[in-house]
């Protein structure tokens, strides 16, 4: 049966299966890919280093908004000293991983998909196969690992800058006591909260990188095909991030 004649659920199942098979091809090639560590380091820089500016700017503004909204809410209960706790927990457990992943999908994810898609459209992947070089090992795996490693690092930077933004508004503008801001934060934030954020960002990094490289590798080798693949990356990653976030949040709350 052709793909066009399939019902939507069957097509979705088929696509999930294809992504799973592709993930297996990547996993099998991860160890061999470490024979060329320079390729992986370059892709960590591509996915992470080149996303730094947008992540830091977004983190700062999100933190500042948290500072404003948090202060407005907490002062109604006379608890404005807890602003640091509210901002830190909000950033570490939710906003940090989710917003970082959404920005990552828009910046690095689209870049990965279009780069691999264009390599396919210009016969570069076929040329590699003709040189007896597996494109999955040399092109896909380094980019997948680059995203996988970069995401938690970007998340940490986002949270750090965000907390600085919240402190900037809360302490410098709204007059919250510096000592109260930081001591309450230090006392209330547990290791579990940090781990939750790290696990989420690792899960988002895996999902986004996988979808981005899958879509690029399977893009139709035309300008339109690459454009469609790039769009699918953003849409699929965004929905997946929010779905995984819900599932992980529910799981953490159930087990805590």
């Amino acid at each position: 049966m052709s793909a066009g004649a399939e019902s939507a659920p069957v097509a979705t199942l088929r696509r999930i299966g294809a992504v799973a098979v592709f993930l297996w091809r990547i996993v099998v090639q991860i160890v061999p890919a470490f024979a060329k560590p320079r390729l992986i380091v370059a892709q960590i820089y591509n996915a992470g280093g080149r996303s730094l500016v947008i992540i830091m700017m977004s983190g700062l503004f999100v933190g500042m908004v948290l500072g404003l909204q948090g202060f407005d809410l907490l002062q109604r209960f006379g608890s404005e000293d807890a602003l640091g706790v509210a901002a830190a927990l909000g950033l570490l457990k939710e906003l940090g991983p989710v917003v970082t992943a959404l920005l990552f999908a828009g910046r690095a994810g689209t870049s990965l998909t279009s780069e691999i898609g264009l390599m396919k459209a210009t016969d570069q992947l076929t040329a590699m196969q003709m040189m007896a070089v597996d494109p999955v090992r040399y092109v896909v795996v380094p980019r997948f690992l680059g995203g996988f490693v970069a995401m938690p690092l970007l998340n940490a930077i986002f949270c750090g800058v965000g907390l600085f933004g919240a402190q900037l508004i809360g302490v410098s503008l709204m007059g919250v006591d510096t000592g109260a801001f930081w001591s309450q934060t230090q006392g209330a934030v547990r290791l579990d909260d940090v781990v939750e954020g790290i696990i989420k960002s690792v899960a988002f990094g895996t999902a986004c990188s996988l979808i981005a490289v899958y879509e690029g590798y399977h893009a139709a080798p035309t300008a339109e095909g690459v454009g469609l693949a790039t769009t699918r990356t953003v849409v699929t990653c965004s929905v997946l991030i929010l779905l995984i976030d819900y599932m992980l949040t529910a799981a953490f709350l159930t087990t805590s």
Partner: protein, 276 residues
């Protein structure tokens, strides 16, 4: 050069395509295709656009598999090879793509060094010597640090040629090497194909529809049309052929067995119909 290449007689068939049928999307590309390329010779596959010349290369290199018939390279059946065997076979082949297919994130030097780095553990000094030797052979030693985007079409194809020969292959495959080139670049590529064949003894497969250029370099030619070989021989023999398909192709005639118009409904009737 490999043991196999040195131990085989000069006229041995390196590539044998027998009674191949291949269809894609319900459209038959080949039906009953027979082709032979002999060692150390330049074999040209010619034919009108859309006749399946590039598809034939995909069959030979194991990127596509025939529905029926046999494709043998160095005596081994390509369609039954596993991926490791295919990769081993491809290490003995070099391929020049229509657009060069250079890796755009690497400079010229690194593009040529790519197969060496992927398959060998040669010291950097030796890799440098090999890369510079091959770049010198195509006249682009001075362009080693240029990026692919800085190259003209002809230069990109010469770099791709240097990359294709850097592993000293037994077979070199050229897919439309003359397309989009100015006369000077075309002459340079033509001369390089001939030099590679004569100096290195490489079996060369050239897919093209540029009759004039192929006449200068090809030892054997196959003219493909309608999914099979309609004529074979030297380019001069083809030129003297009385077959209508051959006369149309070699003479560049609009009318002949290959129709100018794609199948369509009656012209007048369609013009008078209301627009949908």
């Amino acid at each position: 050069m490999s043991d196999l290449a040195t131990n085989t007689p000069p006229d041995e068939a390196v590539i044998e395509v027998r009674d191949v049928r291949y269809a894609i999307g319900g459209r038959t590309i080949f039906d009953g295709l027979d082709i032979i390329a002999r060692r150390g010779r330049i074999t040209a596959f010619m034919g009108p656009s859309g006749t399946g010349k590039t598809t034939l290369l995909r069959l030979i290199t194991g990127m596509a598999h025939a529905e029926r018939g046999s494709v043998r390279v160095f005596g081994d059946e390509v369609s039954t090879m596993r991926s490791q065997e295919l990769f081993a076979l491809r290490r003995r082949m070099g391929m020049l793509f229509q657009n060069g297919a250079l890796l755009t994130d690497l400079d010229v030097y690194e593009n040529v060094a790519f197969p060496l780095r992927a398959h060998t553990k040669l010291p950097e000094s030796l890799i440098r010597q090999l890369v510079l030797t091959k770049l010198h052979a195509v006249g682009l030693r001075g362009a080693a640090r240029l990026m692919p985007v800085e190259l003209s079409g002809g230069m990109a194809r010469r770099v791709a040629l240097a990359r294709a020969i850097v592993m000293d292959p037994d077979i070199l495959i050229y897919d439309e090497p003359f397309v989009g080139l100015d006369p000077i670049s075309m002459g340079v590529i033509c001369r390089l194909i001939k030099q590679m064949n004569e100096a290195l003894g490489i079996t060369s497969i050239v897919v093209s529809h540029d009759v004039q250029e192929l006449s200068e370099i090809a030892h054997d030619s196959f003219l493909l049309s309608g999914g099979k070989v309609v004529a074979k021989g030297t380019p001069d023999e083809l030129r003297r052929s009385d077959l209508p398909e051959v006369r149309q192709f070699m003479g560049g005639l609009a009318d002949g067995p290959v129709t100018f118009h794609y199948p369509a409904p009656d012209y007048a009737k369609q013009l008078l119909e209301e627009a949908p």
